[in-house]
């Protein structure tokens, strides 16, 4: 055996360029255009030069008039710069049909029963083939970059006077790309266009190196989103409008980790747990000076404590949760200054809003009612005091690690099965099949910890990475209940969502007609569709799997909230 091992090229930032076809001539041309012409190349590091960003983090899009660029409600990792032509931003929400989505509706009980009778004996049968062409508002065309959906008639869909036109040199989609929030409006090409799509990593570097661009984006974020984000935080609800305004001016926003965490998740999860924890970006380290209150704006973070030679997970924090409050309150009440008691690390990616300590002490602390304050506990608190503070039901440490390590904490409707109660009768699978034309939409298998199994069923994630890159908008959040659903009619079977899902909960299936004959395209290739659990959103009773379990074994659980999980696992 070779003790030295195989030598390979060290993995680099740009091993996978966004668009391999972008040439040096393209980069040269781009550098002659605004805003890159005004950028100082020397402001960029040698490791991440401007040319490198343009060559590896960008792609050029040739668009025709009417092409949909982004849809309202979509998730995405990119910002867009208009190089030529103009784009139209719709100021009104467009109908679901235009966006490739399906109208959410509930079946009546007669319809529900009738559906049972109409269930096909054949696997994945449909009443239709691919009908994109038949949708009246939109059409589809193929180009080198895949399928592009376009509006047949822009004025018919976006009324006159209800849109804004964007011109060359303008940037859009940047806030959504940086904060991992849904796109706030639909944008279509208003003419033949040349567009530069800049992926998140490259855009972040441009911001870091170009103060003017950064200031522009920060101003936009402060004006449009930050105030509403701050108001959403439970702790800040005691503040007046003026306080929030002042707070917004001084809040710092930071991003940690990688938006594309799902890409590397499977390979990283094979690493040793200690190694994994150490590779997670540190937001606040145990023992560090408390320089502010940290608000989780998006994503997840792990709270850990040094334990022996490793780090033990204590809790996980999600959107809207805060860290550092206990320390800040203790420090304000005593001369003895506490550092951060635990480490906060980014799981995947995290957006943080940091309220600096002096700002917190000036604007927030005086407004919080005494009963809402966390109990002050010094570092030297005796064991009795510690026990008193941690009384109540808490999650088993092993289960906590299991949920965090497998990123199940992303799921708002994870399928949790208590194997101590599950009789393996498969009533849940049969019920699922009966409500989905005889095709079960989950597999009663999955990773297990102790007596708990998280089955392979769509978890309707907080960070739905499956929704990024769907060319037709078929996979989307239902506007009424927030569930992630797929419009079967507009799904073109590209498999992007299935490949992106880190939990392998989206299946690509070959479809057939009502007689079981497979649908094929002109070349004899089968037509495939993406399928997954829709939580029986059409049925009034909620998820059939949960309702069909006679032994209280299967539950759809919000795994992103530790208290919900604990209430389930501590049932007696």
């Amino acid at each position: 055996m070779n003790a030295i091992g195989s030598q390979i090229k060290r993995p680099g930032r740009w091993d996978e360029p966004f668009d391999e076809t972008i040439s040096d001539e393209d980069v040269f041309r781009l550098k002659q255009l605004d805003p890159f012409r005004q950028m100082d190349p020397d402001a960029f590091s040698r490791a991440v030069p401007l040319e490198g960003i343009l060559k590896n983090d960008c792609r050029l899009l040739d668009l025709e008039k009417g092409d949909i660029i982004v849809r309202e409600g979509d998730y995405g990792n990119s910002a867009f710069l208009i190089l030529d032509g103009n784009a139209i931003v719709s100021l009104v929400s467009l109908p679901a049909e235009v966006l490739g989505r399906k109208e959410s509706r509930r079946l009546g009980w007669l319809e529900s029963i009738a559906k049972l009778w109409k269930n096909s004996p054949h696997r994945e049968s449909r009443d239709y083939a691919v009908q994109l062409e038949e949708l009246s508002y939109v059409g589809a065309r193929e180009d080198e970059q895949g399928t592009r959906i376009f509006l047949h008639d822009i004025p018919r869909v976006i009324p006159q006077g209800r849109s804004v036109e964007l011109h060359p040199g303008e940037i859009f989609g940047e806030i959504s790309a940086l904060t991992r929030t849904p796109r706030s409006a639909t944008v279509v090409a208003g003419s033949k266009m040349l567009l530069l799509e800049i992926r998140w990593q490259g855009f972040r570097d441009l911001l870091n190196r170009q103060p003017t661009l950064r200031k522009h984006v920060e101003t936009l974020y402060r004006e449009n989103s930050l105030r509403s984000h701050l108001r959403e935080i439970e702790l800040l609800k005691y503040l007046t409008k003026e306080d929030i305004e002042a707070l917004a001016e001084e809040t710092v926003f930071e991003s940690y980790g990688d938006f594309r965490w799902n890409k590397d998740f499977k390979s990283i999860s094979r690493k040793d747990i200690s190694e994994r924890i150490l590779s997670e970006p540190v937001i606040a380290a145990e023992g560090d000076y408390v320089n502010g209150l940290l608000l989780i704006r998006n994503g997840f973070a792990r709270l850990s404590r040094e334990h022996g030679d490793g780090h033990q997970t204590i809790a996980y924090l999600g959107k809207g949760e805060v860290y550092g409050l206990r320390e800040l309150v203790a420090n304000s009440a005593s001369e003895e200054q506490q550092p951060y008691m635990l480490s906060l690390r980014a799981l995947g990616y995290v957006d943080i809003l940091r309220i600096p300590t002096p700002v917190f002490e000036r604007l927030v602390l005086p407004k919080i009612p005494a009963e809402k304050m966390p109990p002050v506990r010094t570092r030297t608190a005796d064991s009795k005091q510690r026990r008193a503070a941690s009384r109540g039901k808490s999650m088993d440490a092993g289960l906590m690690e299991f949920l965090v390590e497998n990123r199940f904490i992303n799921g708002t409707m994870g399928m949790m099965i208590d194997l101590n109660r599950c009789t393996r009768c498969d009533d849940c699978v049969r019920a699922c099949a009966a409500t989905h034309n005889n095709n079960p939409r989950f597999v009663r298998q999955g990773k297990k910890h102790d007596n708990w199994m998280i089955a392979n069923a769509c978890m309707h994630c907080l960070d739905p990475v499956c929704m990024i890159g769907c060319p037709t908008g078929a996979i989307h959040r239902d506007s009424h209940n927030g569930l992630v659903v797929i419009n079967d009619k507009t799904c073109i079977g590209c498999g992007t969502c299935s490949a992106s899902c880190p939990y392998t909960n989206i299946q690509m299936v070959e479809i057939s007609d009502r007689k079981g004959k497979p649908f094929t395209d002109g070349y004899g290739k089968p037509i495939v569709k993406a399928t997954k659990c829709d939580l029986c959103s059409e049925h009034a009773g909620g998820p059939a799997c949960q309702r069909a379990c006679p032994h209280d074994a299967l539950l759809r659980v919000d795994l992103s909230t530790a208290s919900t999980v604990t209430s389930i696992t501590t049932r007696t």
């Binding site: 049972l116 708002t412 101590n420 298998q445 049925h539 379990c549 209280d552 759809r556």
Partner: protein, 281 residues
């Protein structure tokens, strides 16, 4: 979105107590009504008979509920299961009232009583099995779907054979051991005794023997021995899954199968009872 069914105040023990109290009170009320009817020199058997028939029809309807999973008005399967358990247990008392706590002497009544007891006792066994066996399965390392077990067993047998064949180039110790001990374990179904009372005896025996074998193996073959040990454990787990999951399915098959026989005989019994009592009252 619907929140999880479990509310913060929910506990299984509280639910058990609630349903048990309702069942006990119901049985007491039925007993009182039977006593009052008998005291007034009226036949309580029609009252208890109809009650029993109604209960059995209700208990059978649980299966129908499973076939229609979409209607919220039908209630959740958990609620049905709880009602099924407590109504089912209560029928023991109603059955006792109906036969006036005597052993039926006619052949038809005897058959009917036997069928009722078989269904009811299989239900009690089911209650026990569904509470105990899942825990045993959960304690195993892997979770497997029953229908996939034969394929997994075949796969494991092939892998074990290939592993031994690859290792036997340098020594025949493992090959001999495989042929004499492991081949039947991997390739043949387990004995009837194991099916009746699955135990880890064979597993322990084989693992001990593989450990003993180590001293005859060279450096290169020892990891193969360790892999074989792992495979023995996997095969034993699969066998255990097959037996226990099979049992969980078999009792239900017997319970439901006999229920239909009970229903048919009960209907005939009802018609005959009315016929011999001078028609419908």
């Amino acid at each position: 979105m619907k929140p999880p069914r479990t509310s913060p105040n929910f506990t299984f023990s509280r639910r058990r107590l609630k349903y048990a109290m309702i069942a006990i009170i119901s049985v007491a009320v039925i007993g009182l009504l039977v006593w009052l009817q008998n005291r007034n020199l009226r036949h309580s058997t029609f009252f208890t008979g109809y009650l029993l028939m109604g209960s059995i029809l209700f208990l059978t309807a649980f299966n129908l509920r499973k076939k229609i999973p979409v209607l919220p008005a039908f209630g959740s399967a958990t609620m049905w299961m709880q009602l099924h358990i407590y109504v089912g247990l209560s029928t023991f008392a109603v059955f006792g009232f109906h036969i006036a706590w005597r052993i039926p002497n006619g052949m038809f009544e005897g058959l009917l009583a036997f069928l009722y007891l078989a269904v009811a006792l299989s239900g009690v066994y089911g209650l026990y099995a569904t509470r105990i066996m899942p825990r045993r399965l959960a304690a195993l390392k892997e979770e497997v779907i029953y229908e996939r077990i034969p394929a997994l067993q075949r796969q494991l047998a092939t892998s074990a054979k290939r592993l031994v064949l690859e290792a036997c180039e340098s020594t025949d110790v493992l090959a001999r051991f495989y042929v004499n001990k492991l081949a039947t374990f991997f390739e043949r179904p387990r004995s009837l005794a194991y099916m009746i009372n699955p135990s880890g005896r064979r597993r322990k025996q084989l693992l001990d023997e593989i450990t003993d074998l180590n001293r005859y193996l060279g450096e290169q073959q020892r990891p193969v021995g360790a892999q074989l040990s792992e495979m023995v454990q996997q095969k034993d787990d699969l066998d255990y899954h097959r037996v226990v999951q099979g049992r969980l399915k078999l009792w239900l098959f017997v319970h439901i199968g006999m229920t239909y026989s009970l229903l048919i005989i009960s209907i005939i019994h009802g018609i005959m009872a009315h016929a011999f009592a001078g028609g419908l009252r």
